[in-house]
Symmetry: C2
Subunit: 416 residues, 2 copies
């Protein structure tokens, strides 16, 4: 079963907003065996909306439309759908009640503009939105189900999970699409591709491997599409994939490698802290996303100035004079220093030049030293990162995770 | 002049990758008067690519295609374009030389798979890519210019700025689209819309106002499309807009409000630091994105545990006993404490419950106290944030910026 997604909003076309909704929708639909064959972004204009919707009719049975349901003038999706389905409005009393309750709970006054949200197209079934003011809508026309959702991400998640997914599963007899993903860190896509050449050649026709690089991580995604559950053979090939590039596998789940690391630290009760210069707290921020992290994480030091490096982390002054702040010695002293300061088992430090300014011939922009210190061991490595400031920070944080993997001998799978 | 964008890649459809390229492309094209009327994402399949490209022919004169130019098997854009333009390949010696240089510089061995990148369709003009291995391509067919770019964001930026934008400006006689954007923080979209009702009614036909909400910020974007430079009247209306919602304007540029704050701190030489519990360094991270921040920013403390709050920031133990760590008193003590610790003029603190666990009836998930301390003044406020963990952290950091605006009496415009 195939679906298309249409996102409505000038902000998407002129690039003021990055569309995260349709990525989420693709994931959720994929899980229930609906593959998204096309996503189209169009402007808040009646003609554009009508023609994009009509075109999709001949291609797919499921169309999800997001955006343009707000209370303001530039939101014209509901009006346009009334035209497309040739119907008028009805006031939905359930929506009115639910809006009143929501505004009461938030201690806000409900305005006339908010009440407009309860005015629903006669042709639709209302999908109750418990986390926002714009309800979803479910329509039928010529063998196509058209689902209209608001553009606010939290509301899309809520409506998909509670209303759309269950209704789609009831409505359609869905085939199966299976995905397995693993994540690698610090290995180039072209090198992985070389190592996987014969593996890729061995895949059956209904299976494919995709490379998804992002900074110095590459996600490898294996996909199989089958009609019957008995035809699924993806796990066999996923094991083969792991065996082929064993050394390079960071984790066997499609998650941020930082979450993988923090889950392990929580599970093994390994307390940690970070001392960050050029990454400015980014490593800590990525590591603290797991619920329960507070049990192993007291806090961090962002040590931007040399004064903070020496006063808070105990980096001896001769290091600044002899090696400079961007050096192996300083990085090691920072990792050790933060361990002592907070009394934790694992210390992670970064010091480098993220740019755009501050680089010299000897110490160019992109030069980063990263150290990890754990029990009696410590490791420090020098990196030359490419890209702009933000990219250098992101690459550095990935490199730090990779070093944590080395020193802790991190497993690729962490059972919950 | 209108353009369309086609992004190629299963990873976009199944939602494994969020498409940031097309937002960037929309911004860049908008600046030179080309409006993007449609963006389409399709899978790495020949048929899907060919039909999406053909369809666009009748609609627009400019088509930009991104993705599918990597060295791996799932990248089929180049092959498909050869089919569409009915041509063979030629080895481009310039690309070969440039690849060799790049690999030398990076100290890596060039593989056979990399050399495939120099094999270019005969029908295209090569767009040299100095930051990656896949060149861009420029084709003509039936009054349409088709530009193919790789999918890696950094390479897209490089190729657009150095090759595509100048060539498009030379090729077409472009009309003008003017945008003016301002950012508000801590005011609901529906309240803004109420305040702006008569302003919106007063706009001329060629002008529109869009609301772009994201957590507790709303960007307001005014757009005007004109044929002649003498018809531009957007600045008059942009001033009117500012006057109408004067109190709520945070900054008059389309930037992250954190960048606006950090530019002011650098310009006024106000040193600052953050003491963060529930936001875990996110406020510091947002504030350190401006080049030159190191002159006013020594570092930060992420104080997750009470022990760190008391040992590093000097929060007295009676506060934990009487008010708890999530309290006005603790937040104030943290902001003052970090000022003393680092000897800075402005201290910012956050303490709250970001969830998903840790909430109680009295102190529910989303309860956040934020304090700012500057010279003889300090301010503390209690917030109830909605959303998941990530959203609560983002909303809290925006609220902190808003408080910095209040205490510093931050201007809405900062001259460079």
């Amino acid at each position: 079963m195939e679906a298309e997604i249409i996102t409505i909003g000038d902000e998407l076309l002129i690039g003021q907003t990055i569309d995260t909704n349709s990525a989420y929708l693709g994931q959720q639909l994929g899980k229930i065996g609906i593959s998204v064959s096309r996503k189209t972004a169009i402007s808040d204009q009646e003609n554009a909306i009508l023609s994009a919707i009509s075109e999709s009719q001949s291609r797919v049975n499921i169309l999800i439309v997001t955006g343009g349901l707000g209370p303001t003038k530039d939101d014209i999706t509901k009006k346009t759908l009334c035209k497309y389905f040739d119907c008028g409005y009805r006031m939905d009393e359930n929506v009115v009640n639910q809006l009143q309750k929501m505004f009461e709970k938030r201690g806000r006054v409900m305005l006339e503009t908010n009440l407009v949200q309860a005015n629903m197209p006669e042709a639709c079934e209302t999908l109750t939105n418990e986390v926002g003011t714009a309800p979803g809508m479910w329509f039928y026309k010529n063998n196509q189900v058209l689902i209209s959702l608001p553009g606010v991400p939290g509301e899309v998640y809520h409506l998909m999970e509670n209303q759309v997914i269950p209704k789609l599963q009831k409505e359609f007899n869905l085939p199966m699409v299976e995905h397995r993903t693993l994540v690698t860190v610090q290995k180039a896509e072209s090198l992985l591709s070389r190592d996987l050449e014969s593996f890729e050649a061995s895949l059956p026709n209904n299976m494919g491997l995709a490379y998804l690089p992002s900074f110095n991580t590459v996600k490898l995604r294996l996909t199989q599409k089958v009609e019957n559950i008995s035809d699924i053979s993806i796990d066999h090939y996923f094991k083969l994939l792991q065996q082929t590039i064993q050394e390079d596998v960071f984790c066997l789940e499609d998650i941020d490698p930082a979450l993988h690391v923090s889950r392990y630290l929580i599970q093994q009760n390994i307390s940690f802290s970070t001392a960050e210069s050029c990454t400015g707290g980014w490593v800590a921020h990525r590591l603290m996303q797991a619920p329960g992290i507070s049990g192993v994480y007291p806090g961090s030091i962002v040590a931007y100035s040399n004064e903070v490096k020496s006063k808070e982390l105990g980096v001896p002054s001769h290091i600044f004079e002899e090696d400079g702040a961007v050096s192996e010695a300083c990085s090691l002293a920072m990792a050790d220093g933060v361990r002592k300061k907070f009394g934790v088992e694992l210390g992670i430090s970064t010091t480098g030049i993220a740019g755009p300014g501050g680089g010299t011939d000897k110490k160019p922009v992109g030069l980063v030293y990263i150290a990890v210190s754990y029990k009696e061991n410590s490791m420090v490595k020098k990196f030359r990162m490419f890209g702009n400031r933000e990219q250098i920070i992101q690459r550095s944080s990935n490199a730090a995770l990779w070093m944590v993997k080395q020193i802790l001998d991190l497993p690729t799978e962490i059972l919950p």
